[in-house]
């Protein structure tokens, strides 16, 4: 088996017609700038937890925004809340708030 690095979510076809956006919209309330993420990976590149686990903050919230949030809470638990991602994000997204939000909402 090839290790795709992010095993929690099974790869499958995403049908945007059927995506429920209610919960992702709830997450945006934590920090509306999350909508402006450019997917640069600055956060995940700086991530302390990513050195020890397959945690990937960029992938996590991007999946949530596509309606893939079944195991989101579990994933968010891997975050060490060090805040390095917040310091590097070019959009100034409050990544810490987003993590807390994921734990609360999903």
């Amino acid at each position: 088996m090839v290790d795709f690095g992010f095993s929690s979510y099974k790869s499958r076809f995403i049908d945007l017609d059927k995506v429920d956006t209610k919960l992702p919209t709830e997450l945006f309330k934590e920090d509306e700038i999350l909508r402006a993420c450019i997917g640069c990976g600055g956060c995940s590149g700086a991530c302390t937890a990513a050195q020890f686990t397959n945690f990937n903050f960029r992938l996590l919230h991007t999946l949530i925004r596509r309606g893939e949030y079944k195991e989101a809470k579990q994933e968010a638990e891997k975050c060490m809340l060090c805040g390095k991602c917040y310091m590097t994000c070019p959009r100034g997204i409050n990544t810490r708030k987003i993590i807390q939000g994921i734990k609360r909402i999903f």
Binding site: G39, G42, G45, M87, P90
Partner: protein, 344 residues
């Protein structure tokens, strides 16, 4: 009294002066440095043709001389004042102790841009760690024909970092500087040509190949020079004990963190407003954009017009542009100024 005072003698200011003469207008160029050409004069070669920057400046300079255009060097404009009773403007030039007043019927602002001060992005260690340079520094090295690490060796691996000082809310620069992506492609290609077997990496967020021939340059860099383009914003740089530089990022196309150690790092710095824009803007009542460049009346048919009668813009003073766009806008500005002066 001059018809037009042109503030800044970069390619936009030079082209404007030449175009003004063709319409029988009397211009003067005020340049704070001791030579014309602006940033282009400090460059080695130009995208998209890889042709010599010096040759372009020489061509323009020949026309400046041929047309007997007045140029004042070491002349830094700090403010503009409209004369209450006369038709024109008075310019305060130089420092406050040595105010020199010049008068004209109209003013064209071609103050260009200031390269982003890379020291502000502390995490990239510019002037703190060894072997980290900006794209401007690299042009100067290429001009000298000497690409060497601090230890005096030819670098075998070089990494470019895109968007340094652009597209970055953390430092308050939201804009895209447009030309740095293609500069990265040009310089990566040239390093591969100059250094046999060099391994060159470009860490980008988006590749913005906006001009004619740019996408072709990108493809050539990938295909013929094996430049490795990695989609991820570099999060951290650190110095190794042997003075190399270690980079960390996420390769977002495979969703994995990656790290690499290289001999040299080049920061692709963006464009910021020229240093005097604020005082000039304030004294004349001109509107500045958030990035410190001048905001025209509208973004379509009046990009050269300011909200103040008789004051116009061209080149990078108005927004980030390449050379041809800067020069075309300069010609457009002269046409607009000519119409304005006729209507007076």
């Amino acid at each position: 009294m001059y018809d037009i005072i042109i503030i800044g003698g970069g390619v936009a200011g030079m082209q404007a002066a030449i175009a003004a003469k063709k319409l029988n207008l009397e211009p003067i160029i005020l340049e704070k440095e001791n030579k014309l050409g602006g940033k282009v004069a400090h460059k080695y070669s130009l995208f998209p043709t890889f042709s010599s920057a010096e040759q372009l400046i020489d061509r323009l300079e020949a026309q400046i001389i041929e047309n007997k255009i007045d140029v004042r060097y070491h002349c830094e404009v700090v403010s503009i004042h409209k004369e209450e009773l006369s038709v024109g403007y008075t310019l305060n030039v130089g420092d406050i102790k040595k105010v020199d007043n010049l008068q004209a019927r109209s003013i064209l602002i071609t103050t260009g841009y200031e390269p982003f001060d890379a020291r502000i992005k502390q995490e990239y260690g510019y002037q703190v760690y060894d072997n980290i340079y900006t794209s401007m520094d690299l042009e100067a090295m290429m001009k000298k024909g000497l690409i060497l690490t601090k230890e005096g060796n030819t670098p075998e691996s070089i990494a470019f970092i895109h968007c340094v000082g652009s597209r970055d809310s953390q430092i308050g620069n939201e804009h895209c500087s447009r030309v740095c992506c293609v500069t990265g492609v040009k310089q990566a290609t040239e390093l591969c040509q100059m250094i046999k077997g060099a391994r060159v990496y470009n860490f980008y967020m988006d590749m913005r190949m906006f001009g004619s021939g740019y996408e072709e340059m990108y493809k050539e860099a990938q295909q013929n020079y094996q430049v490795r383009f990695i989609r991820g914003r570099v999060s951290e740089l650190s110095q190794t004990i042997d003075h190399k530089v270690r980079l960390k990022a996420e390769d977002t196309l495979i969703s994995k963190p990656i790290a690499i150690t290289v001999d040299m790092v080049i920061l692709l710095v963006g464009m910021c407003g020229a240093v005097n824009n604020e005082s000039i803007g304030e004294s004349a009542g001109l509107e500045l954009r958030e990035n410190g460049l001048f905001k025209p009346v509208n973004a379509f048919d009046s990009t050269t017009k300011s909200t103040v009668n008789g004051i116009f813009y061209a080149g990078c003073a108005e927004s980030p542009k390449n050379i041809s766009e800067s020069m075309n806008q300069a010609s457009q500005a002269i046409l607009n100024i000519s119409t304005y002066l006729e209507s007076k």
